[in-house]
Symmetry: C2
Subunit: 242 residues, 2 copies
DNA sequence: CGTAGGTTTGACTGATCTCAAGTTTGGTGG
DNA sequence: CCACCAAACTTGAGATCAGTCAAACCTACG
């Protein structure tokens, strides 16, 4: 049992949800030279335009990806939780088209892209798992385009919260109601394409309706079913079942 | 030289732009049992929720993918041109999370997902090419989230037109100005998350500025540089260079 | 116990939407 | 070759959702 078994266990569990792995596959993953590293909140892991030669696994904490408009408006395009592989795309694309940033203090496992690519090349089931992850990510992006393009503010915010609740719960046991959102309202605004002011007003509306818990300035789920319904949330696009 | 060499040549050219293929890889592709089929415009190739057991290659014509809101609002999430592989995701995901529809009369090549998957399994360079395609698609979706989430109507429409012009030109020789857009204004609206009425007004504005050609009711580029600039268009996210 | 970051409020503005008519265009059958 | 029709495009007017600006107000943390 090597030193980074605990870290790698997370990664293995994640990939097992994506494809059936055999002993040899898991051995190969355990052999990855994963360099763990703690980083503060709001720390950039990748900047748009970088040539990234490494891949990060998010071992603890939260992160997001975002892009910016010429005028500096920010759009968050995805959130990431424990176990997610940030920047899988570095394996095959050379230049980052977006930034990756922590949203909370985090621990990451860093591995050279070439090493991971090599492991994937020698273990087709691992490659399939990673490819499948890419496909699911693409499905999530499609849903975001719909969310941001066609839903009004209240449905948009609700939908985004539902997705995060489910994803942060994936493989866990506790209920959606217990979700801890690492979001400032600013972040929510940037993820939904709204202004902070309007985001604040809509969150208050969600609190008044009971969908979010009232009497706190944090975002907490009050009524999961109600939030699902306001957000028109249907989880099939997450392709969660292996 | 088998009967479907011409059709497969398109596919091979596409994949060669994505990864270095060897003779054996190309042979395998030529061996694909590609059943060609002509379909009219507005024909559904996949419906959201389908379990699709086949993969389509778009041999001629145009297609798009879209999703719908509960209330029936449509959001187009991508456009496709000659050579594109529609629904690569069927190789690893079972249920379609979106619909695929032709935008013009089209010719498609149909191949069972399992056969293509099998070829990919036995030819790692082909699998890499397909994976890379998935990654690029994801990058395009990210840009769409930004486009729809943070750009105003005129930039949004311009950006979308720039992307299509470039993609429909890929591998070709003619200039962006010569692009033929197979779009109704309704489609443009659904791709940008705007209403048809506003889309119409913005297109008129683009014509008045010279970015689009005036004096026609079709969408034609008038001034490519201007359109790029209005759309804040930077093609790096297309990862076009192999 | 001061401060910075985050949240909330108010007042006003404006981009985009909706509804409801037209008008033009391209394709089809006589 | 023309008349007709449906689909696509335009236009106008009024409504509204969401944005902006600017000022407080919390509250966690040093």
């Amino acid at each position: 049992m090597s030193a980074n078994d605990n870290e790698v266990a997370l990664l293995i569990r994640k990939l097992e949800r994506l494809a059936r792995l055999e002993q040899a596959d898991k051995e190969a993953l355990r052999g990855l030279p994963l360099r763990t590293q703690r980083v503060p909140a709001d720390h950039y892991l990748v900047q748009e335009g970088d040539v990234a030669l490494e891949c990060c696994v998010l071992l603890k904490g939260y992160a997001c990806r975002h892009k910016m408009t010429r005028s500096g408006d920010r759009q968050v395009v995805s959130f990431h939780v424990q176990g997610d592989i940030l920047d899988l795309q570095n394996l095959l694309l050379s230049r980052a088209d977006h930034s990756v940033q922590t949203v909370s203090p985090a621990t990451i496992g860093v591995v050279p892209s070439s090493v991971l690519k090599d492991v994937a090349d020698r273990h087709p089931r691992i490659k399939d798992a990673l490819w499948r992850e890419t496909l699911i990510e693409a499905a999530v992006f499609r849903e975001w385009v719909l969310n941001v393009g066609r839903r009004n503010a209240i449905a948009r915010i609700s939908h985004m919260l539902c997705e995060f609740a489910l994803r942060s719960q994936q493989g866990g046991i506790s209920s959606p109601e217990a979700t801890v959102f690492p979001f400032t309202q600013d972040l929510v605004a940037d993820a939904t394409g709204l202004s902070v002011v309007h985001t604040n007003r809509v969150i208050q509306e969600l609190r008044a309706s009971g969908a979010l818990r009232a009497g706190t300035s944090r975002i907490e789920i009050g009524d999961w079913e109600k939030l699902l319904s306001i957000g028109e949330f249907d989880p099939h696009y997450l392709h969660a079942a292996a």
